[in-house]
């Protein structure tokens, strides 16, 4: 199978063609980083998630959050479900852990904004 993707390791944005099989073959890359990028994207794509969490007793209704490290891309929607379930209680500081080790990924969901009590 051949997968098309755009390398985002530099502004050039090479269009890569990646042959996925026993060995991963990359073409279209103008430098080595493109190959690395493509291999990672095929074997273990990861992303940071940013979203919001409902706040109780705060001066704002929501607090923005992020995962403090990258999580597997195919778990984005499952983790969003966890993020949507939880409530945070004010006051909240930047970096406060809202969900620890979310779904066993090793990543914490942490607050990215400061919320004062109401």
């Amino acid at each position: 199978m051949i997968k098309k993707m755009t390398c985002i390791s530099c502004p050039l944005g090479c269009q890569l063609e990646v042959e996925v099989g026993e060995n991963i073959k990359v073409s279209g890359n103008k430098c080595k980083r493109g190959e690395e990028y493509a291999k990672n994207e095929i074997t273990n794509p990861k992303r940071i998630i940013t979203s919001t969490v409902k706040v109780e007793g705060g001066d704002k209704p929501l607090v923005s959050v992020k995962t403090d490290r990258e999580i597997p891309k195919d778990m984005i929607f499952e983790i969003m479900k966890e993020i949507n379930k939880i409530k945070a209680v004010a006051p909240i500081q930047i970096g406060d852990v809202i969900i620890e080790n979310v779904l066993g990924t090793g990543a914490n969901v942490v607050a990215t904004a400061k919320i004062n009590g109401a």
């Binding site: 919001t52 969490v53 409902k54 929501l62 949507n84």
Partner: protein
């Protein structure tokens, strides 16, 4: 209102000191009074027709979310029930959380 009149009104009601529509310089006081007056505004377009909030160069891009908030508060309804104009012209489709 002229600047002098504004100064007078402000002493009585501070919400005339909060600009909601920055393009047309319309205050929260202007909007609240457009809602509370007899046959007052019941929708975003209603507010726009009465006090010009949303008629400016940004076409409400900046003030519309704030007008929705004020309408919800003044009419005592959730923001999801605030309409743009007629029945059915709802602006928000639900809560995210």
């Amino acid at each position: 209102m002229s600047e002098n009149e504004k100064r007078e009104v402000l002493k009585i009601n501070p919400i005339y000191g909060r600009i909601i529509c920055r393009c047309e310089h319309i205050t929260e006081g202007d909007i609240v009074s457009a809602i509370r007056r007899p046959l007052g505004a019941r929708s975003v377009d209603g507010v726009k027709r009465r006090v010009r909030a949303g008629m400016g160069r940004c076409q409400g891009g900046f003030c519309m979310p704030r007008v929705v908030e004020i309408l919800a508060r003044e009419l005592n309804i959730p923001p999801t029930e605030v309409k743009k104009s007629d029945e059915g012209s709802f602006i928000l489709t639900g809560k995210t959380k």
